[in-house]
């Protein structure tokens, strides 16, 4: 049990410091560690937990909390939350002081410009891996495709898309 908690702390502590561009960039590594390396759950369950976290309110990394709880109960939840949110928060505190001093230095804009394509590539990888793990039927692929198109071209609130997607799954997946 203690060993599991230590492994959770190491994995999520590392992910915390690598999450440039937000949580979605680290989803593939999280999936790799949780599913492929440690076999805590199959890929389909990882996707289900991701979907649950998306349906809940709050910042989009609540899947971390769910994984910790799923793997090792309340202590797992506490350890993963602390490991995921602690290190990046300490970096924020440290950077807050430096930020005002270096405000107008040109390297800041260059570093930001250099990070953007890395982030975009990682989020695209997340999207494909999550879709592959979630969509095992043609109806599910269609839900994904239509939701992606609607979210890309319109300003419909994401919660509507999640709600309608669930309903279509409930009604349709029993027949197809």
């Amino acid at each position: 049990m203690i060993a599991t908690l230590v492994v959770l702390a190491l994995i999520f502590g590392q992910l915390s410091l690598l999450a440039f561009g937000g949580g979605n960039t680290i989803l593939p590594e999280m999936q790799r560690q949780v599913v492929d390396v440690h076999h805590w759950m199959p890929a389909s369950e990882f996707s289900a937990l991701f979907a649950l976290a998306q349906a809940a309110p709050g910042p989009n990394m609540m899947i971390v909390t769910l994984i910790g709880w799923h793997v090792a109960g309340w202590s797992g939840m506490l350890v993963t939350s602390l490991a995921k949110f602690g290190p990046s928060s300490l970096v924020t505190v440290a950077a807050l002081h430096a930020w005002d001093r270096f405000k107008d230095r040109p390297w800041r804009a260059i570093a930001q410009k250099g990070l953007a394509p890395v982030t975009a590539g990682l989020v695209a990888a997340s999207a494909v891996l999550i879709a592959q793990a979630s969509d095992t039927t043609w109806l599910a692929w269609n839900i994904t495709g239509v939701c992606a198109a609607l979210a890309f071209t319109t300003r419909i609130h994401p919660l509507w898309l999640l709600g309608v997607g669930s309903l279509i799954g409930l009604v349709g997946l029993g027949f197809f």
Partner: protein, 181 residues
């Protein structure tokens, strides 16, 4: 200047009411409703939080708390933000585990997961779109995609190679643009 209790309550409300990502609501809460920051201060602080590792709203809760009330404020901000959603998400997790053998529940969650994947694809498309006029940046994004999604490479070495490369290219580009001017 808000107290620690006010910071906690402000972010608690934000955490519990923001569905589908908290960012759109943060500005309304921090700038318009509580007037903790001016619009420019908010944009500047958000710029820092996007630049650093971690979720930008989570970093923002730490930064705002820290700016007003030091360590205790930072703790009040982040705890307020994640306390509510943590309990909600675990309640959903319990519900899921107890009902997951019911085929109707399985279908419901399969539909939910498919829709959530669609939202993620749309987000990726929106991030990739601005790169289409910059072949070098598009190449970096493609390399990152191939390493993670196709080769299933670990994240740490991928980022240790790609990030310095991408920043060096951006810097070279900026220097050339400067020389031309």
């Amino acid at each position: 200047m808000p107290s620690c209790g006010e910071i906690f309550k402000g972010f608690l409300g934000l955490g519990l009411t923001s569905f589908g990502g908290a960012l759109p609501l943060v500005r309304r809460t921090v700038v318009e409703r509580h007037r903790w920051l001016s619009g420019t201060e908010f944009t500047d602080l958000l710029g820092l939080c996007q630049f650093l590792p971690g979720g930008n709203v989570i970093n923002l809760s730490v930064a705002i708390g820290m700016r007003f009330r030091g360590w205790r404020g930072a703790l009040a901000g982040i705890l307020g933000l994640i306390a509510g959603p943590s309990l909600v998400v675990i309640a959903l997790g319990v519900l899921y585990e107890h009902t997951q053998n019911d085929p109707r529940v399985q279908h419901l969650f399969a539909g939910l997961a498919a829709a959530a994947a669609g939202l993620l694809i749309a987000m990726a498309a929106k991030m990739l779109l601005p790169l289409r006029r910059d072949p070098l940046a598009a190449g970096i994004a493609a390399l990152g995609f191939i390493a993670i999604a196709v080769l299933r490479a670990p994240l740490l070495p991928t980022m240790l190679v790609l990030t310095p490369l991408s920043i060096a290219l951006a810097s070279l580009h900026a220097r050339r643009a400067g020389a031309r001017r």
